[in-house]
Amino acid sequence: MICEEVQNLVTEYFEDSLSLPEKSAVEAHLKTCPVCRSFFDEYTETVRQVRRLKLAEIPALKREFLFQNIRKNLRQAGPSRPQPARKRLAWVVVLGALVLFSLWNYRWRRRSPVPGKSFSGAAVTEFLLEEHVLTSGLSPVRVPSVLTPALTEQPRK
């Protein structure tokens, strides 16, 4: 086993979670390699020092104060509110509808003949019929006579 492999396995070796063959191989290497031996000693010392840190006792007064606060908050919270996932879904639907409406409104204004101007019923009808012509593939000759003359005019030769 090479030094790099041993150093990669040092945590599992320290926690005794290696398989028997791997553990034997690491131990054999540590016996013969002073660099890895020194590394393992430093590793062990570091873990030992960290584990010496202990949390101080929680003062009884503080514990009681927190406990009472928690009870008060729970009483004030009341019945459970709607599941957060449902609320998020509702917001997504509302925002999605707003975005779609804005896009449709923007597209409709771009395609309209006089952008930004309010339209009479006749102008709207004309626009919708034009849309129908464009999307249905009708040739200008077959366009119904109700359309404005501009749409049925033949190009000048």
Binding site: T11, E12, R52, L55, A56, F67, I70, A77, S80
Partner: protein, 167 residues
């Protein structure tokens, strides 16, 4: 609730290690517990489930903290409160030296990346098993081992010269 309060508060102090933030975290976690109580499987142990909720709440608060710093956790930055910890094996004669060692260790722990620090704290300080930590953090055991390994190597890198000189 009292039965699990100490264990939960200790975990909260390890995760949000100044007492003001830990107080807020534990209160929020208890509210989550009572809200989600209907989902608890009565055949299983309570404490691991409670720990999971606490860690989940802690992560949500940290996420919000990244977007609005100081909103939920204090602006003290990530450092452990030395008054909350003591060194095992303290004796009055060695008190000044122990204080210094404690400060150095806590600074090194605070310097770790969050995912490594959580695992080192839960394993080496809170003394949970790798399986329990994997269950709480919802990651594979191998991931926990990897983070523990990298965390300890970082600590070794920062602390080796300090403790070598102390021998």
């Amino acid at each position: 609730m009292r039965l699990y309060f100490d264990a939960a508060y200790r975990l909260a102090l390890h995760l949000a290690p100044n007492s003001r933030d830990a107080d807020g975290l534990i209160q929020a976690a208890f509210q989550d517990v009572f809200r989600d109580l209907s989902r608890f499987d009565l055949s299983g142990p309570f404490l691991p489930w409670f720990r999971k909720i606490l860690v989940r709440r802690y992560r949500k608060l940290r996420q919000k903290q990244r977007i609005w710093p100081g909103l939920l956790f204090s602006n003290a930055g990530w450092k452990f409160d030395p008054d909350l910890f003591h060194m095992a094996g303290d004796s009055p004669e060695l008190a000044p030296r122990r204080q210094e060692e404690k400060g150095i260790l806590l600074k090194a722990l605070a310097r770790l990346p969050e995912n490594q620090r959580d695992v080192v704290v839960l394993f080496d300080l809170e003394r949970l098993s790798l399986k329990e930590i994997a269950d709480i953090l919802d990651v594979p055991v191998g991931t926990v081992t990897g983070r523990l390994h990298r965390g300890r190597l970082n600590l070794l890198k920062w602390l080796r010269h300090y403790f070598k000189g102390r021998k």
